[in-house]
Amino acid sequence: MREAVFKTEISLTRYLRADGKPLDELPGWSHEPEPLTSYYRWMVLARQFDQKAVALQRTGQLGTYPSSLGAEAIDVVTGHLMSHEDILVPYYRDHVLQMIRGTPMRDVLLYWGGDERGNAGVGMARDLPNAVPIATQTLHAAGVAASLKYRHQPHAVVCLCGDGATSKGDFAEALNLAGVWHLPLVMIVNNNQWAISVPRHMQCAAPTLAQKALAAGIPAEQVDGNDPIALHEVIGHALQRARAGKGPCLIEALSYRLSDHTTADDASRYRAPDQLKEAWQNDPLRRLRQYLVDLGYWDESRERQCLDEAQQQIQQAVEDYLATPPEPVESMFEYLYAELPEQLRTQIEMARVRGGGDL
């Protein structure tokens, strides 16, 4: 005798078509100019920043840099919905999200320019810095959420990662703990269809990544990651639940990596040009701009002004970045332990001499 013991379904939320036209009745707030025009401004800034960062890398002024091209809506909406007290556990494409949280743009450049001070920013006092080893941050997020819960603080933790990250055991372990401990954790997967050269279908045989939540017994949502209205609804709801003690949630945001993986990558080696061209049809900026233009909230002159402002802000940050001298060599030891062990003092001198000279 076979008896059904578990039934479920997972839904995709989407409000706008790729051309910015509504698919359906829209939520009330989305008829107002705010927050959508703010979203759009930040998305423009993100894209401009990206372009500049890539240009800096190409001219030897920045290290390897991972563009956020195509992920702007996810980051911008998340950044706006998070409260100051919520805690961010980002991944390495979340530049603009970190900026919205207060990290100076210069610090983002410092980080990718090989300077730890990029992680020291005051704007994000309790947020975690980027974790380079994939998926490891998902466990930190569980721990941060556990600390909020332990302290009875009604805030949420937002953690982001890529589609590739969902294959690493850490991801499953973090969701599992979040389920058992009922943690205030909102896990957002930026499913941009690629993990460097490995396409989504070679990463996992499941039709959605959202269903990874089922393994942990927690709610799962799929959302169009190019649709700011849908993102706002789904992420906003998850944040409210988490803050209200209603537990964790996994959100799969469908996007597309419109850039190379990083500046060290050449996606043309493994990606058909047609696919990329098609993906540009879903560009989140285009979609939101069209929607705002249709409502009369946006036009060419606003666009130009917005671009100009972004350029100025970026230019200033780049100048600040380039004018920042390297950190003194002893910083290499200064932050290793709470107090520097006596034994290591002599090595500071060695470090100074190495690499051809004093600082």
Binding site: E116, R117, A120, P133, L139, H140, A145, L177, Y337, P341
Partner: protein, 338 residues
């Protein structure tokens, strides 16, 4: 406490004290709650402090370490248990890539005040993977502290020191001597420094340098040597990272002879590091080559043969004899080598 207690009970006492003193100390790990841990190190603590402070976790060491890093990043002192050191490997990515670096990475904005406790070592007739001594893997990682007690009093004091420390500390408990002896340990709340060696016995002829479960073996060897009129100094390294070389160098520059003892394999073991430093720093002052008495460079055998793997008193005495012997020929040899 007015009863003498064993090392294991001293661990329990220190944990209780830490939980009592600081509401932001949390314990978690597999089976540490109701069950009190498979060795009973946390016995009674869940009942006394509540299941929200002494917490059972799902089975995943990587998760335990990573969650501890996350909590510690927010200032909570996460004291976690890995059931056996043989199961610490899944936690290494979090320990090496994150715990050790969080302060460094953020230029001091965040830190990682966590303690990861694990019983280590052989000699208890346990199944495979329950007898490992892989402390060298951890002691190699800048940013981690690695501490090993060798007596009830040091277990109590060092564990309190580890919990109060603002750095991540790996606290390895020599399970072979968990219940080996009992002494009075005052529950004074006083921590011991976690970056110092302990000189357990002073002596002029030779330095026996060791830690953990090999300390009783070294003390027994020292007794034996004393009967033969040889006066050995016994030093408990206690902190494997950083190592208190001031104490070690002072001892060996006095005695001119060192025998280092541990149960981990010799190759790449902590003893190699100590040997290298002593040789570098005390060139010309040594009366014999620094000797090492260690576990063998092979897989720890299943328990039926484990006694053939672990060093014991007679192995230490053999090494001491060789050291004394070498010392006798020393000037001759050194002159002959030019």
């Amino acid at each position: 406490m007015n009863e003498p207690i064993c090392l294991l009970e001293a661990v329990n006492l220190a944990l209780a004290r830490a939980l009592d003193d600081d509401p932001e100390v949390i314990l978690f790990g597999e089976d540490i709650g109701h069950n009190g841990g498979v060795f009973r190190a946390t016995d009674g603590l869940a009942k006394r402090f509540g299941a929200h402070r002494v917490v059972d976790t799902p089975l995943a060491e990587n998760m335990i370490a990573g969650t501890a890093v996350g909590m510690a990043s927010q200032g909570i002192r996460a004291v976690v248990e890995i059931q056996f050191m043989g199961f610490i490997f899944p936690a290494l990515e979090q320990l090496i890539a994150h715990a050790a670096r969080l302060r460094h990475r953020t230029r001091g904005r965040l830190s990682c005040p966590m303690v990861l406790r694990a019983p280590y070592g052989g000699g208890i007739h346990a199944p495979e993977h329950h007898s490992e001594s892989t402390e060298a893997l951890l002691a190699h990682i800048p940013g981690l502290r690695v501490v090993i007690p060798s007596s009830p009093a040091r277990a109590y004091g060092l564990l309190l020191g580890a919990i109060r420390c603002d750095d991540p500390v790996i606290f390895l408990e020599p399970k072979r001597i968990y219940r080996a002896s009992r002494t009075l340990v005052e529950d004074s709340g006083a921590a011991l420094p976690i970056d110092r060696c302990f000189t357990l016995r002073e002596g002029a002829d030779l330095s026996l340098i060791s830690y953990g479960a090999m300390i009783p073996e070294c003390l027994a060897a020292a007794d034996n040597l004393a009967e033969r009129g040889i006066d050995s100094e016994v030093i408990d390294v206690a902190s494997l990272n950083p190592i208190d070389y001031d104490t070690l160098l002072a001892s060996v520059s006095k005695t001119g002879r060192a025998v280092i003892v541990h149960e981990a394999p010799g190759k790449g073991g902590v003893g190699a590091d100590i040997s290298a430093v002593l040789n570098e720093q005390l060139w010309g002052q040594m009366r014999a080559p620094v000797m090492r008495v260690t576990g063998l460079d092979t897989v720890m055998p299943y328990y039926r043969n484990e006694q053939h793997y672990l060093p014991g008193v007679s192995d230490i005495l053999d090494a001491v004899d060789k050291s004394l012997e070498a010392g006798r020929n020393e000037i001759l040899q050194a002159t002959g080598s030019g």
